[in-house]
């Protein structure tokens, strides 16, 4: 079973706005428990060629391991936007996010030899690395309390990107993110908040309990129910989309 929310090749640039459907027969192509979405083009500095779309993440990682700089550039084009958003969600600082993004890709380059496709897919590895480094940075700069205050001051935005459903955002969201957001937005607020604090703030269950003033047992239950629900929803998504 494939282990990631993997991307297949996307349609050529002119067809990028198509619904979640790939392949010549316009059917969604699935990978493991999740649909394979077209790439979320996150850094529009360059217009990827069809050939670039066709190169899988695994192939790019292999080329990076061989020291091919162009492959790193292509991987950067593919994921830098969403990775920057992930970093931003953790450290809430635009300039520092760019700096850290660069550091992460350098680390990815330097540590590429440790990546093994047998252990998982590149995207999972990259997301894990990015999240960990962002949380490290958050703690290192000892501004956690300040960020926490900022976070508290904006409860209406929790979780920021998961609940922004203005018309403009709907247009900007590509189909893959729209589907993922639907799943996440269906969670009860309390469960979503607990997951948010763990995932984007790097808090353990006890820390979430301390931060929110909610009993540890309740937090554990919320996390368990929330995560299980998302897992099931993502599995179910496969069947739902297969029928399209």
């Amino acid at each position: 079973m494939a282990q990631e929310l993997a991307f297949l090749q996307a349609p050529p640039a002119g067809n990028r706005g198509a619904p979640i459907q790939l392949g010549g027969d316009n059917r969604i192509i699935l990978c493991g428990g999740l649909p394979r979405f077209p790439p979320i083009m996150t850094a529009p500095m360059s217009d990827p060629t069809t050939e670039e779309y066709e190169i899988s993440d695994e192939e790019l990682m292999m080329r990076i391991q061989q020291g091919q700089e162009e492959a790193l550039g292509m991987l950067y084009d593919r994921y830098s936007g969403v990775l920057k958003s992930l970093i931003m969600r953790v450290i809430h600082n635009d300039a520092e996010s760019d700096d850290l993004l660069q550091e992460i890709f350098v680390e990815l380059w330097n540590q590429s030899g440790t990546f093994s496709p047998k252990k998982g897919k590149p995207l999972g590895w990259i997301v894990t690395l990015t999240r960990r480094r962002a949380i490290d940075r958050l703690r290192k700069r000892q501004a956690y309390a300040r960020v926490e205050e900022k976070f508290k001051e904006r409860p209406e935005q929790q979780p920021e990107a998961w609940v922004q459903n203005t018309l403009e955002d709907d247009i900007e969201l590509n189909d893959a993110r729209r589907v993922l957001n639907k799943v996440l937005n269906e969670l009860p607020d309390a469960q979503r908040q607990a997951i948010e604090l763990a995932y984007f703030k790097g808090m353990s269950q006890r820390e979430v309990a301390a931060h929110t003033g909610i009993p540890l047992g309740t937090i554990k239950t919320r996390l368990e129910l929330g995560l299980k629900k998302i897992s099931e929803a993502l599995k179910g998504l496969k069947h739902e989309l297969t029928d399209l």
Partner: protein, 87 residues
């Protein structure tokens, strides 16, 4: 077949919510579970990917990519990115 306890801990593990004592329990169960446990963890990692991919992308500073590649080529540290943004 993984135990419900392991599966629960694995989901918490991928989102980084395990406390130290739970992490030890998780690692023990992971070792005991072997291949099956690793497969389940890999499956759970899709949760983490889904959270990240649900975010609306933010364009990085326009010069970040160039500086990254310059840094790779030179093998040295890159200067701080400019603050010019694509959008």
């Amino acid at each position: 077949m993984n135990s419900p306890t392991f599966e629960h801990l694995a989901r918490l593990y991928v989102v980084g919510a395990l406390d130290e004592d739970e992490l030890q329990d998780f690692e023990r169960l992971r070792l005991e579970g072997g291949h099956s446990a690793e497969e389940f963890i890999a499956e759970c990692e899709r949760l983490s990917e889904a959270f990240a991919l649900s975010l609306r992308p933010t364009a990085p500073c326009v010069s970040t990519k160039k500086k990254l590649l310059d840094r790779i080529r030179s093998g040295g540290p890159a200067s701080a990115p400019d603050r010019e943004h694509v959008s």
